[in-house]
């Protein structure tokens, strides 16, 4: 069936080093530039509007041995920071010209300037994304920040990021996000037809390809998935929360599903589907995009949400996806996830929603203990 082939193509794509993807794209786009975005949210639209290729910089999982980066970052620092830096040391980002980081945490911030120091040939930008969602100055600030980013690209690469081209890119990414929202809704409705391992690969591939190509793949999937066979299994429905930056190993997602869970909501690739509705493409597109970062945002551990309780967004997710439980999956040493775990768990407890904590590292490769934990958890719920 074509769906399987499409997903197979996604699997191949994400097995390729980022640099190789950039190089291949450049063969058909002579003089083109590729810019990789560290999680969580980056305005891929601004990159695309300058005729560049936006990519996701998502660490190296278990694919590289740390030979340099672990002497730069201590043992108590998350793995994605180290492996992302290691990709640089091992030349696996050759072909990528720019990197974008933002203020998601202290580690990412330090990583950004350390990248710049060690690899001066990259154009590295660090975005300060607004944490004050209610200030009267926030929309202007965000618009200016995105313009600053654009100017940086223009100066470094001689590209042009115009308002009309940005408006077009916003429309393209709106379409992609709408398709992804569709896939999420589909998985909520029929999780037996689309596993999270598959959805993960689809999404990740969308961050490793030109958006036009990603959109057409998503269109194909949307057309063909409903006809896919899939018998419902005796599983609990869960929300996975905490894997918004460092990537969980596929093996972990597999184990979660095999041990008896349908993952019906998650915060994987949150930045690539950040907006709850379309970003307006009329008016000043810089302002529309910047304001949407604050005003149309999905709940995230990396953004302050005013007086909203941290648990509120999560509880809504649970209700909306008709989930039975939440599995917290913070990456080891990931402070935003670990801190938010506390109020989120308290909120779930107040609502009587069961939850389980499973920490992970991208390079983790045995999952037997996790499997046992999840099986026990699932059993306790199924046979309660």
């Amino acid at each position: 069936m074509k769906v399987d082939q499409t997903i197979e193509r996604c699997r191949e794509l994400i097995a390729e080093p980022l640099g190789a993807i950039a190089e291949r794209w450049k063969e058909s786009h002579p003089g083109g530039r590729a810019v990789a975005c560290f999680p969580v949210w980056s305005p891929a639209e601004v990159i695309h509007a300058g005729g560049m290729l936006p990519l996701g910089l998502l660490g190296a999982g278990a694919t590289v041995e740390l030979t340099h980066a672990d002497s730069r970052f201590q043992s108590f620092v998350c793995s994605i920071a180290k492996s992302s830096l290691e990709l640089g040391f091992q030349g696996l980002l050759k072909g990528v010209d720019g990197l974008v980081f933002s203020n998601i945490c202290d580690v990412a911030r330090n990583l950004s300037s350390i990248y710049k120091r060690n690899f001066p040939h990259f154009h590295v930008d660090y975005l300060h994304l607004a944490q004050n969602s209610t200030s009267g100055g926030v929309a202007d600030y965000m618009a200016d920040e995105l313009r600053r980013l654009a100017r940086g690209f223009e100066e470094a690469f001689g590209v042009r990021v115009t308002e009309p081209s940005l408006a077009k890119s916003i429309e393209l990414y709106n379409a992609i996000r709408a398709r992804i929202r569709g896939l999420y809704a589909f998985r909520i409705a029929e999780p037996q037809k689309l596993s999270t391992v598959e959805l993960y690969q689809i999404l990740r591939a969308a961050t490793q390809a030109p958006p036009e190509e990603a959109l057409s793949r998503l269109d194909d999937l949307a057309a063909e998935l409903p006809a896919r066979e899939g018998r419902p299994k005796d599983r609990i429905r869960v929300v996975v929360e905490g894997a918004f930056c460092e990537q969980p190993p596929l093996g972990l997602l597999e184990v979660l599903e095999e041990a008896g869970c349908y993952i019906v909501e998650d915060d994987l690739f949150l930045g690539w589907r950040w907006f709850t509705s379309d970003v307006p493409a009329d008016g000043d597109p810089f302002r529309a995009l910047g304001q949407s970062y604050v005003g149309r945002a999905v709940p995230s551990c990396t953004r302050h949400e005013g007086r909203e309780s941290r648990a509120k967004g999560l509880i809504e997710k649970v209700r909306r996806s008709r989930a039975d439980a939440v599995i917290f999956t913070p990456a080891k040493f990931c402070e935003p996830a670990l801190f938010d775990f506390v109020p989120m768990r308290q909120g779930l407890e107040r609502e009587g929603i069961p939850q389980l904590l499973v920490e992970f590292e991208e390079k983790m490769w045995t999952f037997e203990r996790t499997r046992n934990e999840i099986e026990t958890f699932v059993e306790s719920m199924l046979f309660d």
């Binding site: 350390i114 926030v138 600053r148 506390v342």
Partner: protein, 420 residues
């Protein structure tokens, strides 16, 4: 090995004066609890305490409380209390000590530490601040204001950065007016800032005196005596007077050529916060080598005054914004910090760099291995990196630290002998 170096029997006033001032501040807080006067929780880094002061809102510094508890060996039970409710053993222990204080009833009515009326998150660099103050505001039911200060990611803050911060300060002022029921008086703020300037001047001058040999005080271990007045009490007449006294005392010491130790054998720059739970033991590991910190980055978390920045009473809001944006350590990149340290090494004529890496504090620590690479490989500055924690006593391994420190100074001593 040459004769052992001892800490000199220090007879000066600075230490006692600082302690008295900080005690008076704590007593004020305890009174505020009884009288119901408004209080505001605020962070140390690049803070804008002057704004609270302009409304007579008593500042609470949860970081200072957490560190005071650590130095009194009271942090572990608080940390454990927080871990019981789900805080990870891997996250910043300052937050845990503070939330642990709340959870164990050490904060709020009937205690010395009042709940804040307003929780003012001056988000200056550290992302953990956002989490911390979200939790604190939720726990205490206080009003949260998120003062979002864009990180210094260009050589100068952009015009948009300054506008955004000033706008938020104006919005904050409206909140503080409501909470304190007092009208904003810009002249009062100007007067407060004039006191700030005097304190900044004195702190900068004190640090400058450490260029002398011997340095009159240890700019890492003794600097905490000044960090209270400069960060917590800045904007008061008392803090300004304190620094006048401090400068007088240090100038006298320079004239007499006396420093904190019986002999200054090594001049070091220290990076990273100290291990508060083992402050004294850690200090002793350096004292015996005659190693004195002539400059430190930690002493600049609240503000970098040694390069000349001062608040400007003529442009009160703008200069507060500028200080928050650029003139403090935490809102600058780690690589910009390399530049700061390099200047210290050169201008303060240091022999070495000691990096104290803090597990809790990724703001300071994440990437310090790269810093070591830069200083050893690119600049040829002898650099030692040791690890423990600023708040959590479980991460302090004295024997290991001693071995590393001894080996480092032995080799420095050897180099000195060879060079001579």
């Amino acid at each position: 090995m040459p004769a052992e170096v001892k800490e000199r029997q220090y007879q000066g006033k600075v230490h006692q004066l600082s302690r008295d001032l900080m005690n008076a501040w704590m007593a004020q807080l305890a009174r505020a609890n009884e009288t119901g006067e408004p209080t505001g929780a605020i962070m140390i880094s690049g803070n804008c305490v002057e704004l609270l002061r302009a409304f007579d809102i008593h500042p609470i510094f949860p970081e200072v409380t957490a560190l005071q508890n650590a130095i009194r060996h009271q942090s572990l039970p608080l940390i454990l209390k927080a871990e019981e409710v789900g805080y990870s053993s891997d996250s910043c222990a300052d937050v845990k000590a503070d939330m642990g204080l709340f959870l164990s009833g050490g904060m709020g009515p009937g205690t010395k530490m009042p709940y804040p009326t307003v929780t003012l998150c001056n988000y200056v660099g550290c992302n953990v601040y956002v989490k911390w103050f979200e939790h604190l505001a939720a726990a205490t039911g206080s009003e949260l204001f998120m003062l979002d200060v864009p990180f210094l990611r260009t050589s100068e803050p952009t015009a948009a950065d300054v506008r955004y911060v000033v706008k938020q300060i104006e919005e904050l002022i409206a909140v503080l007016e409501r909470i304190s029921k007092k009208k904003f008086d810009i002249d009062k703020l100007r007067e407060i800032l004039r006191y700030s300037v005097r304190a900044e001047e004195g702190y900068a001058r004190s640090k400058d005196l450490c260029k002398g040999s011997p340095a009159p005080f240890d700019s890492y271990f003794d600097a905490i005596n000044m960090m209270g007045p400069i960060n917590v009490l800045r904007g008061t007449r008392e803090a300004a007077d304190f620094f006048d006294e401090a400068v007088k005392e240090f100038e006298g010491m320079v004239a007499e050529k006396v420093g904190p130790l019986s002999e200054e054998r090594f001049r070091m720059v220290v990076e990273g916060p100290p291990p508060y739970p083992y402050y004294r033991s850690f200090r002793n590991l350096f004292t015996k080598w005659g190693a004195v910190a002539v400059a430190s980055t930690y002493s600049t978390v609240g503000g970098i005054w040694e390069w000349g920045f001062r608040h400007d009473p003529a442009r009160p809001l703008e200069s507060i914004a500028e200080q928050m944006l650029t003139e403090n350590l935490t809102n600058r990149s780690i690589v910009a910090r390399y530049g700061q340290i390099k200047r210290y090494v050169e201008e303060w004529k240091a022999d070495c760099l000691v990096i104290h890496s803090i597990k809790s504090c990724r703001l300071f620590s994440a990437g310090q291995g790269d810093m070591r690479e830069y200083f050893t490989k690119e600049l040829g500055v002898p650099t030692l990196l040791v690890e423990s924690d600023l708040e959590d006593p479980r991460y302090y391994a004295e024997a290991q630290l001693r071995n590393r420190i001894d080996a480092f100074f032995e080799s420095l001593e050897h180099k000195k002998l060879v060079a001579a």
